[in-house]
Structure formats: C-alpha cells, structure tokens
Symmetry: C2
Subunit: 356 residues, 2 copies
Amino acid sequence: MKKHNYSAGPCILPQEVFEKSAQALLNFNNSDLSILEISHRSKDFVAVMEEARNLVLELLGLQNKGYQVLFLAGGASLEFLMVPYNLMKVNGKAAYLETGTWAVNAIKEAKLFGETQIVASSSDSNFNFIPKNYEIPTNADYFHCTSNNTIFGTQMKSFPKTNIPLVCDMSSDIFSRTLDFEQFDLIYAGAQKNMGPAGTTLVVVKEEILGKSGRTIPSMLDYQKHIKAESMYNTPPVFPIYASLLTLQWLKNKGGISAIEQKNQAKATLLYNEIDRNPLFKGTAAVEDRSIMNATFLLHDENHTSIFDKMWKEAGISGLAGHRSVGGYRASMYNALPIESVQVLVDVMQALEKAV
Amino acid sequence: MKKHNYSAGPCILPQEVFEKSAQALLNFNNSDLSILEISHRSKDFVAVMEEARNLVLELLGLQNKGYQVLFLAGGASLEFLMVPYNLMKVNGKAAYLETGTWAVNAIKEAKLFGETQIVASSSDSNFNFIPKNYEIPTNADYFHCTSNNTIFGTQMKSFPKTNIPLVCDMSSDIFSRTLDFEQFDLIYAGAQKNMGPAGTTLVVVKEEILGKSGRTIPSMLDYQKHIKAESMYNTPPVFPIYASLLTLQWLKNKGGISAIEQKNQAKATLLYNEIDRNPLFKGTAAVEDRSIMNATFLLHDENHTSIFDKMWKEAGISGLAGHRSVGGYRASMYNALPIESVQVLVDVMQALEKAV
C-alpha cells in the first residue's frame, strides 16, 4: 500500500522523481555510470546544474532581472549565518520579523554580527499568528522574514513594502504559490519540502545587493564567490541537486506554480473546512494566517487521541503528529501530496466523529 | 559495457551501493516510502545515522577513545573554516603543512582567524613531494596537514609527532589504508572518494580539544553543537549519509581497512611498475611520496597524446585526464576500483608502446 505521507520535511516528492532518480543511480543519461560516481565537472552534471539554475528563474518569473541562483549545502540553517555575513554592514543593523522557531534561530545568528531589531513578534501567543502593521527601520541593512512556519501552521499572505533589501526564508512554501518574487532581494530555502530531497539549499539573490557589507567573508560563506564559480565553488551535493532538477521539471510539466497553487488551495480548503466543521477538532492558527502547506489542529477532547491515532494509521497515513511545541496534529500538504490523500484524512476525521 | 571509472571524485563506488540505494529510493526498509520522503527524525533514519557514526569508529579503531563522529554538509571546504573557528584561540596561532591546492585553500581560510604559520611547503616544485623534517611550533593551537593530494599524486606516509592537536584533511584517502588513527585529534573528509557520494562530510574529533578557542561560534559552525545534537542539529543530507552507510558496510564486509589496503597496494604497484617500466611514460610525484590513491603521470612525447587518449577511451576507461595544474594523466584508484580496471589501463599503456 502506498502511504499518505504528511511528513513535515523531508517530505513527499513526486513518484516520478523517485523512479527517475533510482534509474540515474544505476545508469545516468545512458553513460553506463551511476550519477553517484561521475565528476561534478563532467559535461552531464554541468548541464544538470545549469538547467536547474535556469528552471528556478523561469518558474519564479525572475529571468533577466539581475538574480543569481545557487544550489548550496548546509540547509537553511547555514543561511541564517550567511545572510548577515553578506548583508549586515560592519556596525550596521538588521531587522527581523519573529514568526516562529526558524525566525528565532535566524535572529540568534544575526545577533552575532550586530544590532538585530525584532520589528514584531508573535512569540507571546506561541506564534499562532503573523504580526501585521509593524514598522521597518529604513536604516537597517535588510529586513528578514519567514514566509511559512511549518511548526505553527501560519503563512505570510503578503509582504511589507520597504526600501531596504527584503530577505525571505521560503524553505517550506517556495514553488507552492504565485507571488511577485521581484519584491524579494534574497530568497533561500532548504530543498526538502517542495524542491527536492534534503541535502541542498536554494539561494536566489539579486546580485546588486552583494559586496557592500565591508566584511571579510570566509570563502564558503561568500555568495559572490559561489556566484563567480557558477554554484560549483567546491564539489556540490550532486545527487540532491539532480533530484531537485527532476522535481522542478515535474512542476513545470504540471503547469508551473500557478497550476500547483490551485491544487494546493483545493487541498487546504478541503482540510480546513473539515477542521472547522467537525466538532471534535479545532485549528491552532489564526484563520486569516493559516498556511496552505501545513495545517495544525487539535482534538478538543484528548481522550480521543488513541482512537484517532489508530484510525489514521490504519488508513495508511503517516507523519501526522504535531510538533512537540504545539502538540496535536500537523498535516503537511506539500506540492506532491495528492488531494486523494487529503480526502482519506477527512474521511478518517468524519469516521471518528461517528465512532465516538 | 561497464566503464573503468578513474574519476578523481566524485568517484567509483561499489556496485552494490548503487543497487541498494536505488532500491531505497523506491521503497526504504519495506516502509513503502522512499528514503527521500521520510523524516530525518524517523526511527529508520535515526538508526542509519547511529549505525554510520558507530561504523566509522569501528573501522578506524577509535571506539571508546573519546572521539565523536559527525556527518555534516558543505564539503571539506567548509571544514577549512570550521577548524580555525573551533580550534584557533583568540590571538592564537595555527601551523599548516602546505602540500597542495587543498592545503593552500585551508591556509587561506585560517588566515582570516589569526596567525597562520606554514611550517613547510612544496609549492616551489609544483607540490610534487611531501616536505619532511620540519619543525612544528609547540605554541600553536593545532597543526594541520593533508594526508593525500589528489591533484599532485602525493601522500603522507607518516605523520609528525607533536604535542599540539593534530588535524588532518583525509578527504581523498580515508578508509584506504591502516594508520594509527589515535594520533589524530581531528580528521575530516568530504565523502566523495572512499566513503560515499558527494553531499556529506565526515568529521571525527576528539571531544576534549573542543570548547577552548574563546570564540563565539555560529551554531552551524560549532562542532560542539553538532555533537550535542547527535549530528542532527538541522536536517542532515539524508541520502548522501545513507549511501555512505552502505559504502561503509561494504568495506566492513570486505574485511575492513587492512583488507582493502592490500588491494589498494596491489593496484598501485601494478600501475606504478608500468609507469616506471614503460619508456613512453614518467610519473610526476617523488617516488617515495607517491599516492596509492592517485597516480599522476605524463607522456614523454606529447605527440602520443591523441593516440593514447583514443586508446584508453576505446578500452572503456573514463576520468583519466590530469588536473590542469599538472597536465597529463591521473589514475584515481579508490577502494571500489577493481584491479581488473587497472590491468586494462596497463594493457593500453603496453599496447601504446607497441603501436608507436
């Protein structure tokens, strides 16, 4: 039985990505070599990197607009550090929006480099909403926000206008919805949600904002060095990048971001409608800030936990447990999750209602 | 036709690693899930990480001796930076042996942190030998060396005795030969030679040397933070680590490092004997410092280049071109390369001798 995989990340990817990448492990591009044993400088892999970088710009609508694409390593957590290293001036300052665990971690690293102002925070209410109507200091070197908060099930529906560089951690919702991506100066995202498997990190950066911090940046942390080397400053994570390319190709063939957004909206509507209708459940995030990627919800009566857990597991659902800081359940509905899997969950929730 | 893969890295891995990891992409551990879509916190992957960390200690003979094993991301190039961040004291100094391109790059990053003394260098002779009889300053915070130089085909046959921490970049020869690994305080290695595919970096560190630099270390660069999190401070590169585990399991089943060392010696002897015997060829590295992993050699007469290149390509050999800084040829004979592939190369060299 194929599972209904609600894992928060690493997460479900398209079946064809599993099949094509398994084939490439045995014989890549009919080279009689595995993708694991070829040089990253080989013609075949250079073509993978080039296509992946171009496809990112194409899908985001950012071609010929001064952006560079990098596939790095280390995860979004390394970007928490690279962003201030590259953008915060010596004796400068940065502005951050604090919307969840990952924002907290990003702020912690930025503080190592200089004054880090938290413009607004929802920490007092366990991050169950997105702060609005805050002011961004015009003298900061950049403003940083997190577009989607997997743990707390919230998502920024719009982004502030500001004249300073806008930096966004889009790890958990990039490629899931249309946005005017030109409003961002730097976007980063760990691959392991909608882009591919764990092991590579996407960075999309407007080149003109770089080179101004006045800091001496270690080579591996310097975006300009990676750009100059066309994302091959050192041996890149070959397989994770190849599997990401396959995922991006799948997305393009599905009609791109606007087409997948419709499907994601339909999935989220189906589940949130049930959460709101079913008297046994309640959502944890403010309704207007609900994430279309990660729906967090609780049972009103904790005594129903064991029967509900038994029921969804028997239905082939996996990865539905909520993060320990929120409890309850988290349904992560990334791009590759079919709406049929959401229907299975809704059916289980309705069956629970009848059973108790 | 299966290729004879002499790629310098990423490089040949055991065929069973390709096959087992392809299977895991389709159905990992009979979970009905791909290894690409499972949580890194899942029981199945935590077991992978634990087994891989333990197997490294077992293969190196370092169990219960105060060492910790990490599987990080970013490649050895990120370690060039992490080593001084963690080990070089504020206002301290470090000592480096300069034996090739990677040592040069490591030294460059160390200089960002403080005084970096080059105790000896073979740069004046294009790194074709390993310096000996140098003095290591006893007041340095650590001594750093590179055990094997892929580009120049040299290898350290012994390591200096010193009372300061001994740090070694073993990217290109770890797990290929027996050594007293206890003499090292910190070993690091990009996976993509003898350990697995590109995308993860091995760090083996004696825990007692950490926490003494007096620096505030960004989280992702702090070995102690990674140790505390059992190598899961953030989402690790799941697939590269799994494929590394499969490679380590293969090595153990083959009899471990001492057994593979015998095979590696036999391969290297076969090829170097031919380089020395065949009047058309000459080796580039000092004989006593020749690497058993990477044999670098030239044609005496460059006019033979096109015919030789045609012959080895027709024999199914790939990845034999030398690095541009040395020219000629480089035969990388990592653990997974069978001696039959070396015999094919020797046969081609002998056929060239008859043909010209």
